[in-house]
Symmetry: C2
Subunit: 320 residues, 2 copies
DNA sequence: CAATTTTATGCAATCGCTTGCAATGGCTAT
DNA sequence: ATAGCCATTGCAAGCGATTGCATAAAATTG
């Protein structure tokens, strides 16, 4: 592996000049700089990341920490990951994946955190680098999220206007901000519009939705719409309806949330609130890189940065 | 941040002794070593990865390279990733995600490659570190894979024994080893058992399967079983059958491949060839770490290491 | 044209850690 | 008792890059 010195000797300059040719190109005479760059490619020179990290105290590595008790195999995370990776790569940063028990392995310049529970607050507070959350948090950290409250209101309104007269919110049984916002958005809408409705809370698996809906089938008369907190739940609901002989979308409507590719493989392609996950991932990465580049900014003002990217209702075959 | 020196001063030894207490514990007097470890936790000391990497020429980072033209949001990759991450973390290695255009960002001790096409051979050959493939390859690199040939023969045999008399292989239109093995496994089975059959090749999307099956519905009499090369395709096939009024599983059988959670959300839970992706990911990680630890091994013998982990047929509601 | 600023380049120190060799002391072996 | 051998520990060098300061050359100025 070629080093700075190798390039320097071959060019008859000190390694300093070579270093500058890379990091401060304007401080080096143009023709000399070109000659140096030439030699660098000839020698297939690549700066040693470890040496740079050592002297510069920056690793050019960002860690995405997905906490273990979340299901890492959700397509949701994969899309997020794709967005983050793309944005970081553009800025010559590498992406590292970590879980709670591996967070100590290797150093980094900043963290993107997702799936964090309130009980992890202490752990987060101990992190020594800038942090951006994916999803709202109660501890005042910067975050990127979608407007869950507004999103559910939009889909609820859509269901109501489509003429469904009984609305069911199928939520996820966790007391996290994203879920509370969604429940509240639903609740306020049906209350203020005097619509008959109910709220169900389940674990986030399609089969639990299928089982529940089948068991309580009598409660759901024709003209019911199910507003679900995830595409997984929505698909489970749809399966139950079809199994019970219900007609989708004429008698029963189903709306999902997330907009991962799951919505495409439902028996009736799913109407869903589509989170722009790729874009949200990019936004999170950009915000974090900004914080790293301007540490004074986050210190001084100390006000929470919130980036809200709106979801969009994608209408398909599961609603009329 | 505490350094080796800080710990050394506090313990009244040279930093060398501290270093040894970490890396060669047996070379340090036990009581002294305990005292040092004590101080290390007191000071919340963590060895600086950059410094170690610089002097030791090992980064403790493994790169997982998923090539871009593959759909990174496949749950398939996410499960693989989970397996790799878990295994690496146990060995104090960090996992970095890279794509073709970001492979130069940051250094690493080894690569796990997946989704590589033959045309990328040149790129792979230029890598300066040990490589393990996920999936068979024609270039002689070590790899971890499932036995695709055998797997398809198993599911084909299962379909035949279940009494389906017309068998359709729904494959993916790429000339990659995994696909060719599956087609061949199918072909040989139906030929040697004199079963009427056909092979279809599609892009790996459920909707393309749905469209194709619907369009050619007349070709598929009752008692047909579809052996698919992915769960995505299988779900698309199932949707088409139901749309056409076909009965699953009594008249039509559907078998998937992969065993990602998709199989759970099909209208009829999918019978599928379940790849133990988590375990395969772990195996790939272990193999790579072994190669890193024993460079002489891979050099000297120079024979290709193949780890084959068998898939298992998981029978559910889409076959009788 | 001498004085001063600007532009280009080099020197030396340093980041935190590990490797090779030397030094110390206690203990065994003749 | 003297040589020899472990077991422990320290010293110095160096991994490959960057930062601050110094220096030389070139350009600007009154």
């Amino acid at each position: 592996m070629a080093t700075l010195n190798d390039v320097a000797k071959r060019t008859n300059v000190s390694k300093m000049t070579v270093s500058r040719a890379i990091n401060h190109p304007d401080q080096v005479r143009p023709e000399l700089r070109d000659a140096i760059l030439q030699v660098m490619t000839e020698l297939n020179y690549h700066p040693n990341a470890a040496a740079r990290a050592l002297v510069g105290r920056r690793t050019r590595v960002i860690k995405l920490t997905i906490f273990e008790d979340m299901d890492i195999t959700e397509p949701y995370y994969m899309m997020l990951l794709a967005g983050i990776a793309n944005e970081l790569n553009q800025h010559q940063y590498a992406l590292q994946i970590a879980t709670r028990n591996s967070y100590e392995v290797g150093e980094c310049d900043g963290y993107i955190l997702t799936g964090i529970r309130d009980s992890d607050a202490g752990w987060v507070a101990r992190l020594d680098q800038p942090v951006v959350f994916f999803g709202r948090n109660r501890q005042g950290y910067d975050y990127v999220d979608t407007d869950n409250f507004q999103a559910i209101q939009t889909s609820t309104a859509y269901a109501a206007q489509a003429g469904y007269t009984y609305l069911v919110f199928v939520g996820i049984a966790v007391a996290e901000p994203f879920e509370l916002d969604r429940e509240q958005g639903f609740q306020e809408y049906v209350t203020s519009h005097q619509i008959s409705a109910q709220i169900i809370r389940l674990t986030n698996h399609s089969h639990s939705a299928t089982a529940y809906i089948k068991k309580h089938w009598a409660e759901f008369p024709p003209n019911t719409a199910f507003i679900c907190a995830s595409d997984r739940l929505a698909i489970g609901v749809e399966t139950a309806i079809i199994d019970q002989g219900g007609q989708v979308p004429s008698d029963y409507g189903v709306i999902g949330f997330d907009g991962v590719f799951l919505n495409q493989i439902a028996a009736k392609r799913l109407t869903t609130m589509k989170q722009p996950l790729e874009e949200m991932g990019r936004a999170a990465a950009r915000l974090l890189l900004t914080k790293i580049a301007h540490p004074e900014m986050s210190q001084a003002s100390h006000n929470q940065e919130k980036i809200i990217i709106n979801s969009r209702l994608s209408v398909a075959e599961s609603t009329r």
